[in-house]
Symmetry: C2
Subunit: 539 residues, 2 copies
């Protein structure tokens, strides 16, 4: 069967968001100098024909599903199936541009209305032995939503988009229950009606969902203040092939192991998360973001460590390395770059690392905490750059993913990867990953930042740009990614907030032991004895 991979699918990040982010001409020139030649203007290819296999869902299965959710909520048309075929990693984007025979496409898209319907869908899928890929925002960059069928003849994408409700608010306990399909902005809009906020703003915020955040142990840009997503979760409700499962009756417990922490991060393999009870906070009347510059990476990382270990982190605390800072300086039209360079040089900062700090809360709280952070930063040799840098970062903070299609059009290979380590490993880990990427890719730009800091360590987030090798574009990145993962293993975690999916599964046993993988498999066999849930992911 032929279908069109249309513009919407190819450039799907921009769907429903604030629009694509084109690259300024100066950025294109700069890229050309650094990793060129690149195609300066870029040009999105038009719609293109693609062969996708016919749906393999057996008629009785399709009828059983239709009986649960209504025939209009079982989609078997090609555009619907293609749109839930993969996530949004660089390799996913490449595959969308040139789908090969193994491009995974679900046999149907099923749209349940509520947790009970999710349960009934799973029951039907158990009965008809159909694989189920839970699908939220579809923003996985590790293959977490690829429509793999494993041993199953057919697989559905279980799209949770209709689970879009704020179920309840317990203002006294500061807990809100949100359904799994609620996206970031909608969650904030719903909570704002009660004067509340969740404060979870990962870069995928515009599209990703509450269920996805929980399933992947997401961490948002304000994690220093609001915590990682798992810190916000007080309870989860799942549908499993063995029936409903609800966890979380108190803020903390010693009633055996914390099984919430087993459900969180289970990536759809231990059940479909249908509702999440979340700690919420009053919507902050004041938001203040500003920028500092530190003299080099070592000084910058030390300053962030000092803040983390003295409980003086701002809610957003994000340190760019020299390379990432140079890119900001080269590309950011909003900064008077030359003047800023002179200003910093006069204060002894010749190779600056930008530090973004942002506080949210009451005026009293922000003032109090900002004073402490500023006091410590000054002692660490940081030079204040001012509000413009902070606000500039805040306004552009979701733009990264939206620029990727443009960069791909220009012939650029662009991808990110991330890890976290204890402080004593952070510098070595950064060096090793950079070296591994550069050795694999040759001429390239490798930037790094810390965006999540803890008393005992920090995350490291790498952005990589290089000219795409058109003869082997997939292999080019696969080799670089493998080299980076090898460098990470032993020094840090294979993922701080992107999850495991397909891409990191080979590295999981090095991190949690083969016994750990066996324990996860045993948990999965218990709740999903016939293995219908998200085949081929995590374990």
């Amino acid at each position: 069967m032929n279908a069109l991979i249309d513009h919407r699918l190819r450039r799907s990040w921009t769907e429903g968001a604030a629009g694509a982010a084109p690259l300024p001409a100066r950025a294109a020139r700069w890229l050309d100098q650094r990793i060129g030649p690149v195609v300066p203007g870029g040009a999105p290819a038009g719609d293109m024909p693609v062969k996708i296999p016919s749906p393999k869902l057996a008629k009785p299965a399709e009828e059983a599903l239709a009986k649960v959710v209504g025939a209009e909520n079982v989609l078997v048309d090609d555009p619907a199936r293609l749109a839930r075929a993969t996530g949004l990693s660089y390799l996913d984007l490449l595959r969308r541009r040139s789908p090969s025979a193994d491009f995974p496409v679900p046999d149907a898209v099923v749209l349940p209305a509520d947790p009970d319907e999710v349960q009934a869908v799973l029951d039907a899928c158990v009965q008809h032995d159909v694989g189920v890929v839970p699908f939220g925002g579809g923003t996985s960059v590790v293959g977490g939503v690829a429509a793999l069928r494993g041993e199953k003849t057919s697989v559905i994408a279980l799209d949770l988009v209709r689970l879009d409700a704020l179920v309840s608010v317990d203002a006294e306990s500061r807990i809100a229950v949100l359904q799994a399909g609620v996206r970031g902005p909608e969650a904030e809009r719903l909570l704002a009606g009660h004067g509340l906020t969740l404060g979870h703003v990962p870069q995928s915020f515009e599209r990703a969902t509450i269920g996805g955040f929980a399933a992947t142990r997401s961490a948002g840009q304000a994690s220093s203040g609001y915590g990682r997503f798992e810190d916000m979760v007080t309870g989860v409700r799942l549908a499993t092939p063995r029936g409903p499962w609800k966890l979380g009756v108190a803020p903390a417990s010693a009633a055996g192991p914390d099984l919430r922490q087993l459900a969180i991060g289970s990536e759809g393999t231990l059940g479909v998360i249908t509702e999440v009870a979340l700690r919420v906070r009053p919507a902050p009347p004041v938001r203040r973001y500003e920028g500092y510059a530190l003299p080099g990476w070592a000084a910058g990382a030390e300053a962030v460590r000092d803040l983390a270990q003295h409980h003086a982190l701002a809610d957003v605390t994000r340190l760019s390395d020299v390379d990432e800072t140079e890119v900001s300086l080269a590309l950011n039209a909003g900064l008077k770059t030359a003047a800023l360079r002179r200003y910093l040089a006069a204060r002894g900062v010749r190779r600056p690392c930008f530090l973004i700090v942002g506080w949210e809360g009451t005026a009293h709280d922000v003032a109090l905490r900002r004073r402490e952070t500023a006091r410590r930063l000054k002692a660490s040799g940081a030079v204040r750059v001012g509000k413009a840098l902070g606000e500039s970062w805040r306004h552009g903070r979701f733009a990264g993913p939206r620029q990727r299609d443009t960069l791909l059009d220009m012939g650029v290979c662009v991808e990110t990867l991330e890890t976290a380590a204890y402080w004593s490993n952070v510098d070595e880990l950064r060096d090793d990953v950079r070296a591994a990427l550069t050795a694999s890719l040759g001429r390239s730009i490798v930037m790094c930042h810390i965006s999540h800091a803890y008393e005992t360590g920090a995350s490291l987030y790498f952005t990589v740009l290089t000219a795409r090798d058109e003869t082997d574009s997939v292999g080019q990145w696969q080799r670089a990614k493998a080299a980076a993962c090898e460098a990470i293993a032993g020094l840090g975690t294979i993922s701080h907030h992107h999850a495991v999916g397909v891409d990191h599964a080979p590295y999981l046993s090095a991190e949690i032991g083969s016994l750990g993988v066996e324990v996860l498999r045993a948990a999965k066999s218990t709740v999903d004895p016939t293995g219908i849930l998200n085949p081929g992911k995590l374990v």
Copy 2:
């Protein structure tokens, strides 16, 4: 065989600690009025003969164990076995006084020297099908260390007392690795050598161990500042029947579910914790404790909630209800009670609830945080009582368990139980548990306090005193405890920090679902296929 249950065993809490805590005469008089008649002077019974079964450990097993740890570290004498027979719940203390036929006694006590020997002991126990009860401080109050043998013919107590080392300190990452057998005071002493502290001070501090804290999800009195024990754990090393298992490579991770949180709270059923990597902090140069009084429980709980939800909790934040406060006022010789009552009444506080707040850190930090706490407490209607109350609590904070033997000698039934709930359930839960206990016990004193507060809820800790029913002293408490547990189920967790053990196991599936229990069993079958680990506990 006959053995003597000697003084040391009967009153074993006091062993190695700061000595028994006798009750002042005034306290005895007061108890007599409230729940009497009680035996005023009390009188510890002398040593008493007791029949305990001969060790059932087969010769080949004993030889295999002796080969691992040396014959001198396989103890089969009665005093050694009796000392590791049970924990220290009220029912355990009763059973120690009048051991019945089903008093559980291990067949041997094995004392490995290090994690490798622990592994080798487990290997030998798998080979000879011997049950293993990991034994740390022996302070479980839920039957967690009872030497039950389950299906096994013989069972050993695996005493970790020789795993007493500080393995490593990573000052930069603020992580210290401690062996499982290190007791609270020794942990602090070892860390103090590096200018560090753990800050974990549960009431069992004097005897309980690092491994036990991890195995039971312990929470210390300063949990508002230092966190619960699981918040401190960055990594765990376990010995399991399937081999060694190590978890924790980074401060946070999205590499699947957090299996550390499965190991923590596993109560010896998923492996023997041999080492724990812990987040540590600089030893605080300043410690400041003081007391406030709030006008009644509702106002007190509101004030604590206000602090928790505004990130203004002191490191120690502990609110007594009116009954507990009355007991303090009646018994505490250090306070000028009548004058204090007048002082409070003049400020509108006629039914006071004492609030202890304590900060630890640098002078700057303590001053800054104390100002915020005080500001909010004032707005909540709290009246400052001063340093004496805080210091008095601090100095007596480990005395409770040490007074139990004295109270038992006096014919008093004394026990504690605890739970936690979301704020909107806290008051109802307290009322229901009090009502259940009082209905079951009749004339009694039931006190309650909040000692651990979170943004979304708080713990509730109950202390119960009643005249012991000598005709059915075990049944008297079992019925009261069951009534309290029934009241808890549905409103809170069956344990906030005492764990599950034997006593709470019947209530676990109501909390985590039968699916949750099955998942735990599946995890156990994976790491412990022949079921040697801590038979009869948790699941």
